[in-house]
């Protein structure tokens, strides 16, 4: 299920963006998470701000650009995918 990240998740993600020096990129676009029912790992997607509103209301099969995965307090994000 696609959803907006909560405050804690957003902090972990923004820290990663900040570390790479692309904090502004995260501000201009939206981040959404896809909860995988079978594990605690969440897929991280970057989507246009316009798309964010649509997918949270009508759950799609797939949305945006997958940039990595998020665990409880850590992440596996791929900077190359964004840049």
């Amino acid at each position: 299920m696609y959803r907006k990240p909560d405050r804690k998740e957003l902090t972990v993600l923004k820290r990663a963006f900040n570390k790479w020096g692309i904090f502004e990129f995260a501000q201009q676009n939206a981040l959404v998470l896809n909860d995988l029912g079978y594990s605690k790992i969440k897929e991280v997607f970057i989507v246009s701000s316009f798309l964010e509103g649509i997918i949270c209301h009508r759950q799609p099969y797939y949305a945006g650009l997958k940039i990595g995965e998020l665990k409880k307090n850590s992440h596996r994000l791929c900077r190359e995918q964004i840049l």
Partner: protein, 319 residues
């Protein structure tokens, strides 16, 4: 509409034998394809290859430099960011630039369909039957990754290739729904632009798959027409007033092309707008006469336009 089959003649028999087609197909081509001999000769060759720069990731000038340094010869086309491959020292899909998503291998005819869609930034676009994503990714780059593209396909194997191409090209404004496109009204959304590249009998891609010269029947055309009718009726209903619907197929069959658009006229408040490429759509086929506005739709032929066979209609929805 039942598939029209014309009486066999000595000319159709001779051409069918020379070029290896089923005679019913040749007798139809004779009716509407200009310069039939050159057409059949061209269809026996290989299609021209085109690439489209993915401007989300690189500019056309930079990509051109990179590919020329690898021994490619590129030629400009009437469509911005699309190049014809004149010479390549190795397969176009085997470069690092391709894997990085700097370009997409796409026929010029498909690019013309997207060009006709007249996409602007921040619009809501629907792409019905979207996999494998050539047109979807082109729309995304025209929108500069803004707004929203709703891509629909029913086949999960084809959706996997759509997902791969979206990721490769860095598209962020697209969401995919796996569903029958004729049920698109269930999404309860209205779109500024709708692209329907309908499933068809694929007569236009015989250059890529020569087995199609004899492998399809009149039944296949009739089957496709039923699907196309369902899809276009659903498409018209979800375009917002003043929005555009582009209908395209890679078929030459008038039943799948002019006939489909003609069926909308009179039932919906629409206008067929002209397109700047190709030759006019047919206004008559056999005994069937189409509305005069159908001439604004366009046909692309391999021997005239150096593309695969294609049909494009640009429909403005008034109300």
């Amino acid at each position: 509409m039942k598939t029209i089959v014309f009486p066999k003649t000595s000319e159709s028999a001779k051409l069918a034998k020379t070029f290896g087609y089923d005679e019913w197909l040749i007798s139809r081509f004779i009716e509407y394809v200009p310069d039939i001999n050159r057409f059949l000769e061209t269809m026996d060759g290989q299609p021209k290859q085109y690439i489209r720069t993915n401007t989300i990731k690189i500019s056309s000038a930079d990509l051109k430099k990179k590919l020329i340094s690898k021994g490619f010869q590129l030629k400009e086309t009437p469509i911005q960011d699309v190049f014809a491959i004149e010479k390549s020292s190795f397969p176009v899909g085997a470069t690092t630039e391709y894997l990085l998503g700097y370009y997409y291998i796409q026929d010029l005819s498909s690019c013309i369909a997207v060009e006709a869609l007249d996409v602007r930034e921040n619009q809501i676009i629907l792409d019905m039957a979207s996999a494998p994503g050539g047109k979807t990714t082109f729309v995304a780059q025209k929108m500069k990754n803004s707004g929203c593209i709703v891509a629909i396909d029913i086949n999960s194997a084809r959706i996997n290739s759509l997902k791969f191409n979206i990721a490769r090209c860095g598209v962020m404004n697209c969401c995919i729904y796996r569903m029958d496109s004729s049920h698109v009204t269930a999404l309860n959304m209205r779109f500024d632009r709708v692209l329907l590249d309908a499933p068809c009998s694929c007569e236009g891609v015989i250059m890529r798959d020569k087995s199609r010269k004899t492998s399809h029947t009149t039944y296949d055309i009739e089957h496709c027409v039923l699907d196309q009718m369902r899809l276009i009726e659903a498409a018209v209903k979800v375009v917002r007033p003043g929005g555009l619907l582009v209908y395209s197929t890679c078929s030459f069959a008038p039943e799948e092309n002019e006939n489909i658009i003609n069926s909308l006229l009179g039932r919906f408040d629409i206008k067929i707008e002209p397109i700047g490429y190709g030759i006019n759509g047919l206004t008559k086929f056999g005994e069937t006469k189409f509305h005069d506005a159908i001439k604004n739709t366009k046909r692309l032929y391999p021997h005239i336009h150096n593309t695969l066979g294609f049909y494009i209609a640009k429909v403005r929805i008034n109300n």
